[in-house]
């Protein structure tokens, strides 16, 4: 029932996948350009937020987070996380074919494993069925005037929709 995602939902997963590694890369670049930060002076971390690379990283991560929240509202956490790990593969392929960076055999093995893992999880259902969670959806359908089209389902019954 919940296994088929729409094109829009796949695009949201793709945005999550791409923005997260790109944001992390920007953060990394920004933080390596900062002097060593001591645990005794945590306020220095706040100042780091306003440097260009860290700020760009944060902008990308905000985009990631908005899409991530949307994805979590219609899919399980244990579906979203492996599915969006494909972003690591996209970044590696961009580095190889756009930036002409060499990719070792070890990294190609990583790409293959992630692709197979994403394929595994994408074949399964995206959401664990919960009768108590689905109940409000039925009542919403009733509010929309679809009482006849949406009969109340008891737990354990096979659902029509």
């Amino acid at each position: 029932m919940k296994s088929k995602l729409t094109l829009r939902q796949y695009l949201i997963l793709l945005t999550v996948a791409v923005c997260a590694p790109l944001g992390d890369t920007c953060l990394s670049r920004g933080m390596t350009q900062m002097p060593a930060i001591s645990a005794a002076h945590p306020a220095t971390l706040i100042a780091a937020v306003f440097t260009p690379w860290v700020a760009s990283g944060i902008a990308l991560l905000i985009t990631f987070f908005a899409c991530y929240l949307t994805a979590l509202s219609w899919a399980d956490l244990t579906f979203v996380l492996p599915a969006t790990a494909f972003g690591n593969v996209i970044v590696a392929l961009l580095a190889r074919f756009w930036l002409q960076e060499p990719i070792s055999l070890e990294r190609w093995a990583g790409i293959v494993l992630i692709t197979v893992g994403v394929g595994f999880v994408a074949q399964g259902p995206s959401m664990t069925e919960r009768p108590e969670r689905d109940a409000p959806a039925e009542s919403l359908a009733v509010e929309d005037g679809q009482r006849e089209a949406a009969p109340a389902c008891l737990p354990g019954q096979e659902r029509a929709r």
Binding site: S28, T32, Q33, S73, L77, N88
Partner: protein, 136 residues
């Protein structure tokens, strides 16, 4: 051109483990709490279709559980910044990303009661090893 500062202090083994563990634990707690919040809110696409973008934003920001999750994710973020300042990205990124996948699968099964079947365990382990190989 900005020249990177040299790393003047290399943390010990256990300090490095503690930094990565802090990132992983805070991240897992944040993601589980956020996922629980979003499940309690319901399909955001549906809410947006009925009440518009404002309604969807209101549904999220009026959920206390969401702010608990964001609090932990913020802790994870600053732990990550702290770790990146002391350790190499090639160590922090693969280890934190890989471990977080596994801890999230365990936490998802225990706390969110998600159906983590063989397919999802296999995917989590394959992606975990893949991320490690790719980023190491």
């Amino acid at each position: 051109m900005t020249v990177p500062y040299p790393q003047t202090h290399v943390p010990g083994f256990w300090a490095g483990v503690a930094m990565i563990a802090a990132v992983v634990l805070c991240s897992t707690a944040g993601e589980v709490l956020t996922a629980a919040a979003m499940k309690s809110i319901g399909d955001l696409d549906g809410i947006r279709a009925r009440s518009g973008l404002g309604g969807a934003v209101r549904a999220v920001v009026t959920c206390p559980l969401f702010f608990c999750g964001v609090g932990f994710l913020a802790l994870a973020f600053f732990s990550l910044l702290f770790a990146l300042n002391h350790l190499n990205l090639s160590l922090v990124a693969p280890s934190a990303a890989s471990l977080t996948l596994v801890t999230n699968a365990i936490a998802g099964k225990i706390f969110l009661k998600e159906n983590v079947d063989k397919r999802r365990w296999t995917a989590a382990v394959l992606v975990c090893i893949g991320v490690y190989l790719l980023a190491h």
